[in-house]
Symmetry: C2
Subunit: 241 residues, 2 copies
């Protein structure tokens, strides 16, 4: 049995994005037998209150539910936690208060890759959902690296949310794909040199091959960093007090 | 938020079969938003000791690891447990000793469907792996219903295990498919009126449409029963003492 750290996954937001995360992790692992694969403990909870409605104050905070899930994952044996939903990172503080193991932010991982791979880029297009943008998760992190965020105007934001809810309802058809491609192109025309797929539904239907500028998939980055932390190729931050 | 019971899943055996279980459950659920889907808590642990080696006494029992996973899932909030590996049901007693919530056997679910859908059938072909056959999981359950099990001869058993390990290593090619189809046909020629796909790797590459006699997929049955128990359409057995 290979010794590694066990990731706990706050998932189910949405369910298909979490399955995509697991599938990508499986494919990335060279394995001849089950035992070569990583153990994951997953709270696959699609019933977490709607993050966008919660962040914009229309519904109760998702923080307490996420905190309860995080504590359960730590109890069940997770060594560190990750979360397969960008917007839900608005509740990171609630999660961290509930646990004594590290929570590793997907937003931070994307920014780390951006720094490593595109140090020269100034203008970054952020393809993200209402809650994620409202909470300024990427905008603040990009500003801290001295970069400029290019985000949706109101019409685009509505178009993007419609596409996300169509994907979440299982529709992966050409119109949804075209809509996302068009939206990405809008950000590029407004100056984006790199795009962040900052919603884990996006890579379910489009990928880097669909654009003439680089597209960073938050799911793919989360998969790679999670594996690195689990295998000890990246060091976990110290346990919280 | 829909009220339902939360299934805990002893998974990762193998990892792809667990992802298949989650995907089938997702597709079976009519949903417009994340919140319409079931919460699952999953210990996706591919590092459980090899069930076949453990059952045949070549390696230590998988029971203690499975019992620890089960206890963790109960702690994390699961209302009942299921397991996505047929052979691992040989350790059901270890699991049940570690928990106070019900463990629902996939073997029992398959036998229930067989009783409901094929009451007249006498001869049942069991496509199952070494450990599952060695532990007589299906053979005993079928005998209790007054049915006869048709299982592999030694050469077929070896051919089947080779196919399973090929699938587990990610190979889903035509030779593996042909091998499984041939093996199923052997059981039919020896009198099987119905086949049980009693290993969760089987439905990853073949399905009922591939045979002229019915094929019961243990994964598909587990998915449907899990949903029924979660939604209260089947009643959970009373909690254990």
């Amino acid at each position: 049995m290979k010794q590694h750290k066990t990731p706990g996954v706050l998932g189910g937001m949405g369910p298909e994005a979490t399955i995509d995360f697991m599938t990508c992790l499986l494919r990335l692992t060279p394995a001849d037998a089950d035992q070569d694969h990583l153990r994951l403990i997953i709270d696959h909870n699609p019933q977490v209150p709607d993050r966008h409605a919660a962040i914009t104050g229309k519904e109760p905070s998702a923080g307490p539910v996420l905190a309860g899930m995080a504590a359960g994952l730590e109890h069940a044996g997770a060594d560190f936690l990750v979360m397969t939903c960008n917007s839900a990172h608005a509740f990171q503080a609630d999660i961290e208060q509930a646990i004594s193991i590290p929570f590793l932010s997907m937003i931070d991982m994307v920014l780390q890759d951006l720094k490593d791979q595109h140090p020269e880029v100034k203008n970054v297009g952020v393809m993200a959902a209402d809650g994620c943008l409202e909470a300024q998760l990427y905008q603040r992190a990009l500003a801290a690296q001295g970069r400029h965020s290019i985000i949706w105007n109101d019409g685009e934001r509505q178009q993007f949310m419609e596409a996300m809810y169509r994907i979440k309802s299982g529709l992966h058809d050409q119109p949804v794909r075209d809509s996302l491609l068009e939206l990405g192109e809008h950000l590029r025309h407004r100056g984006a040199e790199v795009l962040i797929a900052g919603c884990t539904e996006i890579p379910l239907i489009i990928g880097p091959e669909d654009f003439t500028i680089p597209l960073l998939s938050s799911t793919a980055i989360l998969v790679r960093h999670t594996m690195d932390y689990a295998l000890g190729q990246r060091s976990l931050p110290p346990r919280q007090a």
